[in-house]
Amino acid sequence: MDDWHNGGFGLYVHWPFCQAKCPYCDFNSHVSAKIDQEIWAKAYLAELERNAPALDGRVLNSIFFGGGTPSLMHPDTVTTVIEAAAKIWPFANDIEISLEANPGSVEAGRFAGYRDAGVNRISMGIQALNDEDLRRLGRIHSVAEARAAFDIARNCFDRVSFDLIYARQGQDLRHWQAELTEALSMAIDHLSLYQLTIEEGTAFGDRYARGKLRDLPTDDTAADMYQATQDICDAHGMPAYEVSNHAREGAESRHNLIYWRYGDYLGIGPGAHGRVTLAGRKYATETHKAPGKWLDQIRKGSGESLREELTFVDQSIEYMMMSMRLSEGMDIPRYQQLSGSELPAERVQDLVNLGMVTISDQRIRATAQGRSVLNAVLRELLVD
């Protein structure tokens, strides 16, 4: 059995447009005045058809419409994609079909249409629960609009998650504790809580480099915030199942679990990444990032810009990197199967002694403390 079966198979669809570019965001998102939805629908179809033969015979566990702002997609476009996928792959009984939505009033008007198209889960980018901070994050919606959009989403869907960004400018520990408690009172069964990352090549990145991004919490404060997040969410029955994701049991995002359990995923749309196993070999794929170029290339036959075989050692590294993010941790025999070597026993023991990881049932798991310094833990585990 190919290794990917351990993680399942999903389809990622990238929608590269937003109404405005947020200053912290380094996703492949662009602002465009006019978008011909029909052309885009056709392009997605073409990409699905191009990939279908090689991936024949699989069962599809999930579809994820990510962005950019997929809630700017016309519901018909979403329908086209879902219907085409259904023609290629049988859907798992519990298939999860998620769509990322921005909490504006325009988008909220389309929620029923998405539901009718087959979407069964919404992930909404609320980001902050006070207007001043939303403004500083460059968001174009208010808290009130976000709450209204969230309510509409709840009425259309059983599963609605939302995202918050914390460790923001001017935010202290108490402020975040209060905001998180408020968020938990709104949440249904899933929350994504991201510490603000200053990405190179974004407006925040530039400002940061010039020393103009003031009042960011220190690393120690950010670490305290992370710890408080774990404590508060645990107390509310929403423990972390991944570094930044919290859910009640059974409400985890199945699509994202495919990434972290290192399954296979086909990525279509501009700048989408994929991991697909063909004839026993696993490939990393990428598509052209610029929307115009992607469309052009598809007219010429394929949106793909890169297809690179991953060695088993590469795969073992990726598996470790991804799975150690999960509270369920990494399956040691599976890792050894891929890497062809054992974990470094002495270093593992050191990490255990330091309280960074635990070992049981043939799994290695990062503790909450270990997760907060996961890169360092990985450096220890990966050093050859």
């Binding site: 990352t197 120690d220 992370y226 994929g274 590294i317 990197m321 310094v373 890169n375 360092a376």
Partner: protein
């Protein structure tokens, strides 16, 4: 062969940047030695031979043919010497091959420390000295003031100093005329047995060792069998020539001339600078006063970052040493750093040049340990050992006392910074020997321990004087002092490569500074790390590096796997560049930076 009366041999002495190289260019250009179209700036500095002959950057020579205004044709041999204090020894020996010097002083700046140091070498070699005031094209030029300063500080007559702009060419003719008329012609007897001074030598991949010679008496020809007086070794001369500035083969060299010979000599170490060369048969017995070989004064360990590159490092060092007899090395093992070499250098610049060459030309990344001077350790049993490496310090119970090398340092500085300079010298355990003024500049002479100077004294001096101070030194001798070995413990493990010799009275301060520095330089780990400085078993300073609390990528989905993997690989590489001490990774720059003293 040239008539003795038509030869002038000279060198140019100057403080760095006062225009020595530019002036040499103008002299070469004005006389048509190099065709205009082949002329490039800083010709002597960029000569191929300079690069070939390796780091010591010893001296360059050029033979200039000059038709003087008296209608006669002269041969002028210029030996261009390096100005840096590390190579003072090279300067002094090159000076003995010539009869005169141009003393170049920037007329916008005045006399500096290296002007003094180098002019003293010239005076010692009995040179006739012609002062040249350079950069007169600049508005800030003040020839009267600078001429007066030359008379006051150096004590030579500057009334006839030539005013020159090496940039515009103004005064170049006059300079050439002064060389011809003010500098003495060499003396020597064509009919006497051959007596030649071995001025310098370097290795050439095609020709073997090239020997730079100054003929004192007799005639040297191609095909001659020559003998080195120091060891009696005989060589067959297969080539003779001069530099114009490229190597040009000629038939013979007569008295007063400067040129090169090759004789299938394999190693620079087989040629002793200062040696007397004569003919095998009917040679002279009368040796020129020799020079003693340059002694390394600064030692440090060089270790490959990647321990697998040890053999490559050995090769590189062997090759460099072929061409540089002043650099010494022996194998060293360090508990922390593995296998490497303990190397001795003429000074810090020499150290840096060698280190850079190994890294650049041989592509080996290095860890350089703290530079140390050579201590004399007197044992209770009456014996004495040279200590090149603090890690080798014998147990105190068997040690009677220690001596350290001292220097005489000369510092010239504008008045307004004098206070800071005196303070710096004081902090470095200096004893003032002299303090005089020349115009608005002060000249301070200090007796200082070399170990307080080798590391960052010059950097500190530049920073407290905004670059206006100049500095030079010479070794004076050894002196007993209360010296102790300070060791450093990271996470309770001693790090041998960080141990150092310090004065007991300064130990606490140095220990504290070192611990604080290391705390900044060592990245946080997943656990807290005590950093301590100790003398014997006694801890004299301590810092704690707190544990890392946050290092995680917040968002990591399908598209981030590739990016994340690259990041981790980069971090892994970074980790490899560090050295592990117990469970602690120490970045290599820590071994050097930790020792810089900011106070």
């Amino acid at each position: 062969m040239t008539d003795l009366a038509k030869i002038r041999n000279f060198s140019i002495v100057a403080h760095i940047d006062h225009g020595k190289s530019t002036l040499a260019d103008r002299l070469i250009q004005e006389t048509g030695t190099v065709e205009d179209r082949d002329m490039k700036a800083q010709l002597l500095d960029s000569m191929d031979i300079e690069r070939e002959r390796g780091i010591t950057i010893k001296a360059n020579t050029v033979r200039i043919e000059y038709n003087a205004e008296d209608g006669e044709h002269y041969v002028l041999n210029l030996i261009d010497t390096p100005g840096h204090v590390d190579f003072a020894y090279e300067v002094s020996r090159s000076m003995r091959a010539v009869e005169g010097s141009l003393l170049v002083v920037d007329s916008t700046q005045g006399v500096e420390a290296q002007t003094l140091a180098n002019v003293y070498h010239a005076i010692e070699a009995d040179h006739e000295i012609v002062p040249v005031l350079n950069k007169i094209d600049l508005p800030a030029s003040d020839c009267d003031r600078v001429a007066e300063q030359i008379e006051d500080v150096i004590g030579i007559d500057a009334t006839e100093a030539i005013q020159v702009s090496a940039k515009t060419g103004q005064g170049i003719r006059e300079t050439l005329e002064s060389i011809v008329h003010k500098l003495p012609a060499p003396t020597g007897d064509r009919d006497a047995p051959l007596k030649a001074m071995l001025v310098d030598s370097w290795y050439d991949a095609y020709l073997g060792v090239i020997v730079l010679v100054r003929i004192m008496d007799g005639v040297l020809k191609k095909g001659d069998k020559v003998k080195m007086l120091s060891n009696g070794s005989v060589h067959h001369v297969d080539r003779i020539g001069v530099f114009r500035p490229e190597m040009t083969v000629i038939d013979e060299l007569g008295p007063g001339e400067i040129g090169f010979l090759t004789a299938s000599i394999k190693q620079v170490r087989d040629t002793r600078v200062g040696d007397t060369i004569t003919h095998e048969k009917k040679g002279t017995e009368d040796a020129l006063p020799g020079f003693k070989p340059a002694q390394p004064v600064v030692f440090c360990g060089l270790f490959p970052v990647d321990s697998a590159e040890f053999e490559d490092l050995r090769d590189a060092i062997d090759k460099l040493a072929l061409n540089d007899a002043s650099f010494s090395y022996e194998m060293e093992t360090s508990a922390a750093l593995g296998f490497g070499f303990r190397c001795g250098f003429l000074g810090l610049l020499h150290l840096e040049v060698i280190r850079d060459r190994i890294e650049r030309e041989y592509d080996i990344e290095l860890i350089t340990t703290a530079p140390s001077v050579v201590y004399h350790v007197y044992m209770k049993d009456g014996t004495m050992i040279d200590l090149h490496n603090p890690a080798d310090m014998p147990d105190l119970s068997v040690v009677d006392h220690l001596e350290e090398p001292r220097i005489k340092a000369t510092i010239l500085v504008p008045d307004e910074y004098l206070g800071d300079v005196l303070k710096l010298c004081q902090e470095r355990r200096g004893v003032q020997m002299d303090l005089t003024y020349a115009g608005s500049r002060a000249m301070a002479v200090y007796d200082l321990p070399l170990n307080e100077v080798v590391f960052d004294f010059y950097d500190r001096l530049k920073s407290v004087t905004k670059g206006y101070a100049s500095f030079d030194y010479q070794m004076t001798g050894y002196q007993t002092d209360n010296l102790v070995k300070m060791s450093v413990l990271v996470n309770d493990e001693p790090v041998d490569a960080l141990s150092m010799m310090v004065h007991r009275d300064r130990a606490e301060q140095r220990g504290r500074a070192m611990c604080e520095k290391l705390k900044e330089l060592i990245p946080r780990h997943m656990f807290k790390i005590p950093i301590q400085a100790a003398i014997g078993g006694k801890v004299i300073a301590r810092e704690t590096l707190s544990a890392m609390r946050k290092d995680v990528t917040a968002k990591c989905y399908g598209g981030d796997a590739t990016r994340k993997k690259k990041l981790l690989e980069k971090q892994k590489k970074g980790k490899k560049k560090m050295r592990q001490f117990g469970k602690v990774d120490i970045p290599q720059e820590a071994f050097i930076s930790a020792l810089k003293m900011d106070s």
